[in-house]
Symmetry: C2
Subunit: 219 residues, 2 copies
Amino acid sequence: MATNTKERILDAAEELFADRGFPSTSMRDITQGADANIAAVNYHFGSKEALLLAVLKRRIEPVNQARVARLDELESSAGDQPISTEELVRTFLTPVFETWQEHGGAAPKYMKLLGRIHAEVDQDLRTKFIQETGAVLERFATAFERGLPALDASEVRWRVLFLVGSMAYTMTWGTALLEVGDQARRDSEQVLETLIQYTTAGMTVPSTASVVAADREAR
Amino acid sequence: MATNTKERILDAAEELFADRGFPSTSMRDITQGADANIAAVNYHFGSKEALLLAVLKRRIEPVNQARVARLDELESSAGDQPISTEELVRTFLTPVFETWQEHGGAAPKYMKLLGRIHAEVDQDLRTKFIQETGAVLERFATAFERGLPALDASEVRWRVLFLVGSMAYTMTWGTALLEVGDQARRDSEQVLETLIQYTTAGMTVPSTASVVAADREAR
DNA sequence: GTCTATATGCGGATAGAC
DNA sequence: GTCTATCCGCATATAGAC
């Protein structure tokens, strides 16, 4: 448990937001979980909403920074060659799973929180998240386009949407699969690799239009 | 607008739950949206939570019934042959998108609601949903296994998780992409086809273990 | 079936003592 | 920085008239 109150509040809030969601978590729950006084949230963060932003920022920023830094590196070393689709997929996905690893590998709260933000439909709450992550997504979409010239921009973006969906869902529910030690047990590194192979295959499949045309041809 | 109060409440609740989520929607919002009295929800449904269950049931049951009915059909006509992966993917995905079509095709509330349920992390609220859908998922996972003998049961279930994630995310956010008429514009039929091709490619990719082994070989 | 009025509790936030 | 006490609004739910 963190020593100072502010950190303890961040930790407790993160866990509770991940488990129950923002609206269903009360400040009384948070301060009790953090072993702090009910007034401490407002003193340290100003409001419940400001606390949420602080919690999100602490996790999202490093992930997105790692993604962009690695992409910068790839692009500068590739020159005018397109980057391979698998490498792009790997670059996008690895940073979140590293967060997973770094903290013990066992279903940590941040993964569930990150998954939840993706899924959360609250327009207001998403605004800040979108601003940060939307730009990153667009950079990756553009990079994907260069390596997949047969696809139009629209199809690439839909596929990126599918990719993000699988990732978010895995973050939210994969932890449960990992925990229960059931049939689906495998460690998070292997899950990442499975997801990368799956996603790369999906991203590189011929365009829907061409498949439909070929199908028509065959009849 | 539906004629009787009960239906109007279901419609209004569905839309509001989809947009704001369950905890953030008040019964005042619902009854106001349904042009009904504040006491009507408790009169017709008993409680807010019972209303949610009614809203969910109305959409999920037909979808899962269609999935299972079509799978029964495929299995009985296939005899002891495994069903093709693409056909299984198609069978699982089509029913939700048909719901989409049936109601005008333009980003309807049910899609967002269905997507939200998948994403929702509230243990309590998910229990009923899981019971209904978990069984359906397990039937499909088993069918996938038969057509993908190179994969172990664990890897098949992870891939099914990815599949569900893409689907749920598309239901939640795809509507927004469809609405804005931006670069990613295409109609829902084409989105379904794109998702089917993407997913089939992901499901049928060689096992992670074999890919990693081949990679090691190559060095 | 539909309404008004109300019971009862929990929510976020803050004032002000220490 | 931390605490108690409290303000005030909104939530669900129900009692009881019509």
